[in-house]
């Protein structure tokens, strides 16, 4: 292997810094097993950071996927206990609208009982009292313990805890190869995207928790893992129109769920099979469809402000190629022991599943590895609380505002929309963020209505003051945002972050959000003149190389 300058030895290497990988590495470390995790981007940069934030009660799967429903119900209760600081107890309604089969209600109720998903029918009046903007024409309402979860913050919390137990977590480390010796995978070659350095990580076991990318990883070992990346598009609406998760009471379909999380409500999702988890875009008709489905749950929905749209790829798994649509592929997870399955030892994959079951998936895969390594320490992740929260207190929406009020720190807010203080941004920059998008995942910087209109400039300026010599990098281009030695990290940071924000905006920009974009343009182009600054960055991708049927609409991802 070229440039292999360093060797790392460990017991278990975990590939993928999403919820499952992080849960796995923490579980391993808690059982005293030496472990390293590699992630090609920033933590949660894949599907974990791109989902609607629903903590499933299981209700969604009771009819179609009963096993998954029960797993969700059990994990829901556990996660509320072990990571309350990241979970909001929103509760959830399953509502029968005039567009839904009225007979499904009884089936739903029975299936909930069968799968042990707690449920209670409530009156329409009661539901409307609690959620006044809900469609008054709904006929039945069932309440379940849905919640919403912060997949970013929880990932950082899990990672911190894992590190405290001795795990080593390396982000911006891209797996370029898996080394196979005979019928055993013995090492991975990884590239540190920030330095260009290659490292050989030798491990007794390598765990493939790369989610939608698990197929790509397995391929490096000449193994076939049939992951069907299922693209789901979501739209965050500007504020909490509801404070309860709203599900349509019917078989799971597109655009039938509205999740209140943090300051927004997320409507989701679509489900479109894509060939490559790195190549997809948001189509205009997906957005139109979601907006109009929203209208069925909330009359007037299309006149509320859409904040941003994005898509994530579900790591759906099916054993053999078949003709079923993505929607019909089980949401349950699947553990693939390649020793039994393919006769290759030292490598285990886990695919499928959902955020809500990340801990269970981790427990299962670690149980197998521990047994093979002769470690008998039992799993404690269902009992041991992830540190960082106040005494078993669930997250509440007003938390940040109350905090800023108590500190009188409103003059110190860099991101006014999401109440991110100077101190938090400095901490994230010092903590190793590679660019402002990383700062965003840790702090919510730029995630509010103005989408970075004011805070991008402020945070970029602060970066230069905190870390004047650090050159910001960008995982997607496998390269740096600014040339080495170029003294303009601020400009590169601003350009990169505004472009990252722009990608999520083009498909939903109309009304207030279009007006906002024009103001943001007045600020950055007219007043600050960013377009007049020499670029000092790699030439951008050619304009027309977009991954969408509609070339004029920007996509979530460009070709790398």
């Amino acid at each position: 292997m070229q440039n292999t300058t360093r060797q790392i030895q460990t017991d278990v290497l975990v590939i993928g810094g999403g919820a499952t990988g992080l849960g796995t590495v923490r579980d391993l470390a808690m059982r005293g097993i030496r472990t390293v995790l590699v992630e090609k981007g920033d933590l949660t940069h894949g599907t974990t950071g791109r989902y609607h934030g629903l903590l499933h009660s299981g209700g969604r799967y009771v009819v179609k996927d009963p096993q998954s429903a029960t797993e969700c119900a059990e994990e829901n209760a556990i996660l509320r206990r072990i990571m309350p600081q990241y979970i909001e107890d929103t509760s959830g309604f399953f509502v029968i609208t005039p567009w839904d089969d009225p007979d499904y209600g009884d089936r739903f109720l029975k299936a909930c009982h069968d799968t042990r998903v707690p449920v209670q029918e409530i009156s329409v009046e009661e539901a409307l009292r609690r959620e006044p903007v809900l469609n008054p024409k709904i006929s039945r309402v069932f309440e379940v313990p849905d919640g919403s979860a912060d997949s970013f913050m929880s990932a950082y919390g899990i990672a911190r805890s894992a590190t405290q137990y001795g795990a080593s977590i390396l982000n911006y480390h891209f797996v370029t190869d898996l080394v196979r010796e005979g019928d055993r995978i013995v090492a991975a070659i990884v590239e540190d995207l920030r330095t260009g350095e290659h490292k050989r990580i030798e491990a007794t076991y390598i765990l493939n928790t790369a989610g939608a990318w698990a197929g790509k990883i397995a391929q490096l070992a000449d193994l076939r893992v049939n992951v069907m990346p299922g693209k789901g598009t979501m739209i965050a609406m500007n504020h909490r129109m509801v404070n309860t998760v709203i599900n349509r009471c019917k078989l799971p379909a597109d655009g039938d769920i509205l999740v209140p999380i943090h300051t927004v409500s997320v409507i989701g999702t679509t489900d479109i099979h894509v060939l490559d988890p790195d190549v997809y875009g948001i189509e205009p008709d997906e957005v139109t469809f979601l907006m109009e489905e929203g209208e069925k749950m909330i009359p007037g929905f299309t006149r509320y402000r859409a904040l941003r749209a994005w898509a994530g790829v579900r790591p759906l798994y099916r054993e053999e190629s078949s003709a079923v649509s993505d929607r019909d592929v089980s949401r349950a997870y699947k553990l693939l022991d390649h020793r039994k399955r393919d006769g290759v030892d030292g490598f285990i994959s886990i695919v499928g599943g959902k955020w809500t079951t990340y801990r269970l998936m981790a427990e299962e895969i670690v149980d197998i590895v521990a047994a093979r390594l002769g470690v008998s320490t039992p799993c404690r992740t269902a009992q041991e609380v992830i540190p960082g929260g106040e005494e078993s207190k669930l997250y509440w929406l007003g938390h940040n505002l109350a905090h800023v009020e108590a500190d009188d720190s409103y003059g110190d807010l860099l991101c006014e929309c999401e109440l991110v203080t100077r101190k938090q941004v400095v901490q994230a920059i010092r903590g190793g963020a590679a660019n402002l998008d990383d700062v965003r995942r840790e702090t919510r910087l730029g995630m509010g209505p103005c989408q970075g209109g004011f805070c991008t400039y402020r945070a970029a300026a602060l970066w230069g003051e905190v870390k004047p010599d650090a050159v910001p990098t960008n995982a997607k281009n496998n390269g740096k945002l600014a040339q080495d030695g170029a003294g303009m990290p601020g400009t590169a940071l601003v350009r990169h972050f505004l472009q990252e924000r722009w990608k999520g905006l083009t498909s939903i920009m109309w009304g207030d959000q279009l007006r906002q974009a024009r103001l943001d343009q007045l600020i950055y182009v007219d007043t600050l003149g960013i377009d007049l600054l020499p670029e000092h960055i790699r030439p951008p991708q050619p304009e027309n190389e977009l991954v969408t049927g509609h070339p004029a609409i920007a996509t979530e991802y460009h070709h790398d």
Binding site: P132, V133, N238, H239, P299, G300, R303, Y304, L401, G448
Partner: protein, 341 residues
């Protein structure tokens, strides 16, 4: 006391108006309160921004919104139409719901009761008392009213008593006409500045209107401003009972206090989430006196036999003018009134 705001449909939803905020800070740069105190982080912060962090079923996370004076300058300058002052009003009501109304606001919220106690023959005594340093010191200590803040002086007679006395003297209304208006005097005119009401009656009668002194309540604005929504709701219901029968006979309600008429027209219905037929009827048929005269003038019915005044008068446009269809006094009459050209 809990006042539950009825369901807002999107067209009427104050909360939804926060969606229009583009964070440009124009409101904050116009706010008279944040100009003078750090304790108020400004209308954008406490309004559309903080609103995204408030959840009706959770405890209220912020109290700095209580420094909002409700002057509505922010609404006026906002280029996107966010109902900032109203968002703040509702947020304050929630604080009051949770923590109760402070003594000062409980007292100052009842302009009618205060007026009733202080005005009349004993007004000189009340005014003298309230000008004494020890009394002001005590009111500051007990009620939190700054001892140097100027207080309005009670009148020795009320507007209503003047009107009734006059009617008794004249035996019957001084003018009988098929053109009638109900005069909404409000608390300030009744208890503090009755001469404003006298002038209004004179102008209206000069233009051939019979002025009716209907029973009426305080408009409820002081209570709304202090977040006491239940009591404000009672006041508004009272005004509906007392005034709607006139409106149904085709008699408009005309007021001289822009903030009172604005409360009847818009503030009370919006903040309290009231949108039924009677509420709308009263709102549509209530006029600020300048708005009313302007419409009379538009129809060629206003008597413009003005005498020029040979002096310069200072004029402070009430902020609430911005929301009434007259605009402020100057833009109402500048092209025909010889006084203020």
């Amino acid at each position: 006391m809990t006042y539950i705001i009825p369901t807002d449909h999107i067209e009427l939803s104050l909360e939804q108006s926060l969606d229009h905020c583009i964070k440009c800070n124009i409101c904050t740069s116009a706010c008279p309160v944040s100009a003078v105190t750090d304790k108020f982080p400004g209308p954008k912060y406490v309004g559309p921004q903080a609103q995204r962090f408030r959840q009706p079923r959770q405890p209220t996370p912020d109290e700095s919104v209580d420094y909002c004076s409700g002057c509505r300058v922010c609404n006026q300058v906002c280029p996107t139409g966010v109902r900032i002052a109203e968002l703040n009003g509702r947020a304050r009501a929630k604080i009051v719901q949770q923590k109760g109304l402070p003594l000062r606001n409980r007292i100052l919220g009842h302009a009618d009761i205060l007026g009733m106690l202080g005005s009349g023959p004993l007004a000189p005594l009340a005014n003298t008392m309230l000008s004494l340093a020890p009394v002001r010191y005590l009111t500051e200590q007990v009620m939190g009213i700054a001892r140097h803040a100027p207080l309005p002086a009670f009148s020795t007679y009320t507007f209503r008593s003047w009107f009734k006395r006059r009617a008794r003297k004249q035996g019957r209304p001084s003018i009988l006409s098929n053109r009638k208006v109900v005069y909404f005097h409000g608390c300030a005119t009744n208890y503090y500045e009755p001469w404003v009401g006298k002038a209004a009656v004179e102008v209206l009668e000069h233009n051939g209107f019979e002025v009716i002194l209907a029973e009426q309540n305080c408009c409820g604005l002081p209570l709304l401003s202090n977040g006491a929504f239940s009591q404000a709701h009672n006041y508004h219901q009272g005004n509906l009972r007392k005034l709607v029968p006139y409106v149904k006979q085709g008699i408009p309600v005309v007021g001289t206090s822009t903030s009172c008429t604005l409360t009847l027209k818009e503030e009370a219905p919006e903040l309290l989430g009231l949108h039924d037929a009677d509420v709308n009827l009263l709102a549509e048929h209530t006029y600020d006196i300048f708005e009313f005269l302007r419409i009379e003038h538009a129809h060629g019915r206003l008597r413009t036999d003005f005498k020029p005044l040979d002096r310069t008068l200072p004029y402070h446009a009430p902020v609430s003018c911005g929301r009434t269809a007259s605009g402020d006094l100057r833009s109402m009459c500048w092209n025909w009134c010889p006084v203020c050209t």
